[in-house]
Symmetry: C2
Subunit: 286 residues, 2 copies
Amino acid sequence: MLGGTAVHFSLAASFFTEVRPVGPVGDDFGAAEFGVLEGRGVPVDDVERVPGGASFFWRGRYEYDLNVAHTEDTRLGVFADFDPKLSAASQEADVLFLANIQPDLQRRVRGLCGAPRFVALDSMNLWIETARDSLFAAISEVECVILNDAEIRQLTGESNLARAARAVMERGPRAVVAKQGEYGAALFTEGGFFALPGFPLEDVRDPTGAGDSFAGGFLGYIDSHDGEIDEASLRRAMGYGTVLASFNVEDFGTERVARLSREEIDERFADLVAMTRFEPLSAAAE
Amino acid sequence: MLGGTAVHFSLAASFFTEVRPVGPVGDDFGAAEFGVLEGRGVPVDDVERVPGGASFFWRGRYEYDLNVAHTEDTRLGVFADFDPKLSAASQEADVLFLANIQPDLQRRVRGLCGAPRFVALDSMNLWIETARDSLFAAISEVECVILNDAEIRQLTGESNLARAARAVMERGPRAVVAKQGEYGAALFTEGGFFALPGFPLEDVRDPTGAGDSFAGGFLGYIDSHDGEIDEASLRRAMGYGTVLASFNVEDFGTERVARLSREEIDERFADLVAMTRFEPLSAAAE
């Protein structure tokens, strides 16, 4: 199936803002694949075609509850020798997402951009194990870290997630998002804690890309929001991330998000607000 | 450490209502152990002392993230030949919690009670595997099932939790609570879905009994609530369950809950309301 962080992220973010994916693809990424991005109005001029190359490839399997993924095959392909180049339009980005690549490359992309007001970073166990210092250097230059909860524990050596998130924030970021699969996602900031469950679905067909769709909804909303990026707007971003992730898993690959409408997003967002609300009862009413 | 469902549940529920635990203990359950219950005003006249017997015993270890418990030793002790007897006061209970015992015993206790308005049931993998039909019969006689999410999947053979919860409700209960460890708990009802994260704590010392404290806070609140048990009151019950579970894990055994105050509970409940709230932004404000 068509996938990859750039594709899932871009499709999700495209409902909120103009998103410019940067990265290399091989010959196997053809007209049909570009068509999916162009169908959502995503400019693809920063997607670098490498003749004779093969696109990044992942194959894995999921456990019974779809919560745990086991990687069976990863091929870096054209990513192995990637040297990021950004168009002028991309260099002026207001919001930047450094997807999961080698952290020194993330820092280089970060350095190519002018003065984005909000930068978020994703990573994975491979870089935590093999490029820890580089990863911490990259983290110190961003506003927000978006990782799976197990990765936050591994990165910091803290088994307690609240402590682990604080340890990440002590490196610089003002926000840490812990992705938790079907359990949803938690947001740690200096002033608070917020969490949302995964949107309940009776039909989950393919969890692949849910985390990237979450990041796309989260940062797409942030970019579309003109006001200050405060606790309230970060919480709404969590809501949009949750909603986009939930649509992503309803079908294989990019099928569902490619045919999604903004109206469906707003409806589900309203449902999510309603299904997470509870009220203390006044003493009088009790 | 002092523990067991009846102890954790009773202490948690004691902040909301009079709770009367029913069950057998051995000689090892002495004045100090009774003192913990009596210290919270819990009537112990339905706790049956079995001379020469040993109390139910559990020993286990937790994984690194404290989310997964591995049982190392379980001894039924006096529970092996338990024949439940209920005082008149217990038979008139308005709200009943059938803790995790053999499901035919749960049905007998249920039958000994007059006309409780709300009955909840807990169980475990052992009964799902060895007494499935009895368990379904017990489930058909209660309003609410409280289980770990993995148990709900195992019970119904449904890997999707929303479908699994619906399959349980089709047997009779109007509410299914899925306990999810540090991820919190989810409530499924005919009309809706609700979920709360675990209360974020930087110091978790002992997760043992968290699920029982949750059930105690949940049902204690339900019993204290005079109005209809509707969606709003079930959601508040989820909040009190979450709060009591969070205090339980802050110290070993029953230490923390035994010295807890109602004021601390209400403060944390208010914090939980605040930390799960998010608001859509009006189009005008955006």
